[in-house]
Symmetry: C2
Subunit: 252 residues, 2 copies
């Protein structure tokens, strides 16, 4: 075991799965149960010092994660294997830690990230087993126009019309490396990978493409939207519960 | 719309999904929330007469279904489309009706069934999103010996040693047409299809194969077990929450 000596500051990297249903989101708040808050509580118990983990991104209330990444600093010499087991034992059932690893001192879950992958799931009929992980939308959606709309998203665009501008981001430029709809009628899923995502961006893109799948607007609207900066031109924000942060990409 | 006239007795066939977590099983009981009980309550509201649906099989408390089948008789002339929508509106979120269809007068969900397919899911690490649908077993399982054990199950065997004999069934003979383990280490799944299943049979088979996957007994034990009639020779009954009734097969 090659743990650092007591007193040396270690940087640790966590990979975390959670079901967002019963959380007020990732970030610690004055009120409400949060993923960051539950982690901080259990980390303090195990590391015997106050520790606030920093996440790769702040997921909304209700949004899930299969591969959220966080880093933390600690002076504890607790081996990563014991911290991993201890966290999974202490954390509530709706948070699971997949990995705890030593990381370079300058590793930062948010600033070191090269990109993220999200998945948004829609059911067009009532479901029981997956009901908290999908947007249940009891309407027929035409996949082909939704796929044509999604094709406009690949590449680098200003996403000013497709985000919540409160708070105002530094800039609206995002590079989308992959995005696609898959599905069979009963379940549709949208996967999108990019270098960065603006607030509510995936949910607004999905809400817009659902209007296209209903035949209420043409696929070409997506191209017009990317040239506009007017949020009112986009569709409604799809519910948080269909969204899942699948993966965060790093070079290191 | 070709509904029967009021007064004529119709036979209807339902296909039902449910999450077993918060149910005391399928069958109506004096105490406890049951799937059959919730269905009966909503059917009575919609059909305006007392109706008890008959299921293809009684799933245990905690066990899930993706494709449970039930039949019922009614004198109501409510069209199947309206009954379908009405049920999904009235039923709680953990029950979803996939289909409501007119059926031949002699259709019986249990006696007309030719067979059933079950799936049993195991996770070898903590999971958050699927935690109520799997057996979380924080141990390494060797898939290859489990697959070898499963191979003995195909064909017609006496399953006396692999069932709960209370109540005693008419006979122990079951014909298994397909069974296999799949998985990647983090998640293992066992699928089995047969003409009939005895009480706790799938869960006892899984409990036994998990002992084999842990290296506590050899795969050949499964062959010995099928020749024995001694329940004490089999492994423990795996938890109900990993089990799901995937499908019921009919000729008609």
């Amino acid at each position: 075991m090659a743990a650092a000596e007591v007193g040396n500051r270690r940087t640790l990297r966590l990979v975390i799965e959670y079901q967002g249903t019963d959380f007020a989101g990732w970030q610690i708040q004055a009120q409400g149960r949060t993923v960051q808050g539950e982690l901080a509580r259990c980390l303090q118990t195990l590391l015997r010092e106050p520790v606030i983990p920093v996440g790769a991104g702040r997921t909304d209330a209700g949004t899930h994660a299969l591969g959220q990444v966080a880093h933390l600093h600690t002076h504890s010499d607790l081996p990563v294997e014991r911290l991993h087991r201890g966290l999974n034992g202490l954390l509530p059932p709706d948070i699971a830690v997949h990995a705890v690893e030593e990381a370079p001192a300058d590793f930062h879950a948010r600033y070191s990230a090269r990109g993220k992958r999200y998945r948004y799931r829609i059911r067009t009929a009532k479901s029981a087993l997956d009901r908290q992980l999908v947007w249940s939308l009891y309407q027929h959606l035409e996949l082909e126009p939704m796929a044509r709309a999604a094709a406009y998203l690949a590449g680098t665009h200003q996403f000013a019309a497709c985000c919540n501008q409160d708070p105002l981001p530094d800039h609206f430029l995002c590079h989308i490396v992959a995005c696609a709809w898959t599905g069979d009628g009963a379940e549709l899923a949208f996967e999108i990978e990019g270098n960065r995502f603006l607030r509510h961006m995936v949910r607004i893109l999905v809400g817009t493409m659902v209007e296209i799948g209903r035949g209420r607007r043409p696929p070409e609207d997506m191209a017009r939207l990317l040239e506009s900066t007017d949020r009112t031109q986009a569709g409604p924000t799809a519910p948080a519960q269909g969204l899942c942060l699948v993966k965060v990409n790093y070079t290191q």
